[in-house]
Symmetry: C2
Subunit: 84 residues, 2 copies
């Protein structure tokens, strides 16, 4: 694995992990009132397009980061859908 | 410009724009108490690494998206630094 790919994987780990505290908080409190539904939908759509972009370019760092982040955002959305 | 780059630019526009309502809200209310400082720092660091990754790969979509998002997150951080 080359240095640039490793840089991308570190970048992806940071941006993906930055959402983890929000997922934990939403899961624990079952409260997502202060989170904008429009923001979550816009973000999830964008991340799924980044995933498609990564697949189209065969870019491992983009695929890994956006695949993982999509799961986290979907978890937040599922809490919001059930508990508002 | 090829179709894959256009896909990346659309993906970047969506993920970047998803932060705009949060910037507007923070700027208007001067209140960022509910936003985690650790999350903002982690996210900004990751985005700056993505920017470096984009420059290293000469990837226009990654450079544009992460350059714009870095400015937005920095604005949120500056409100948090001044108003807590």
């Amino acid at each position: 694995m080359d240095a640039i790919t490793i840089l991308g994987l570190i970048a992806g780990a940071l941006t993906t992990l930055s959402f983890a505290p929000q997922v934990a908080k939403a899961w624990r409190t079952r409260s997502t009132t202060d989170l904008s539904l429009a923001m979550l939908i816009l973000l999830l759509t964008g991340i799924l397009l980044w995933l498609a972009y990564g697949v189209a370019k065969g870019d491992l760092a983009i695929i890994a980061a956006n695949g993982a982040t999509a799961v986290l955002i979907a978890l937040i959305l599922s809490v919001k859908a059930r508990h508002g």
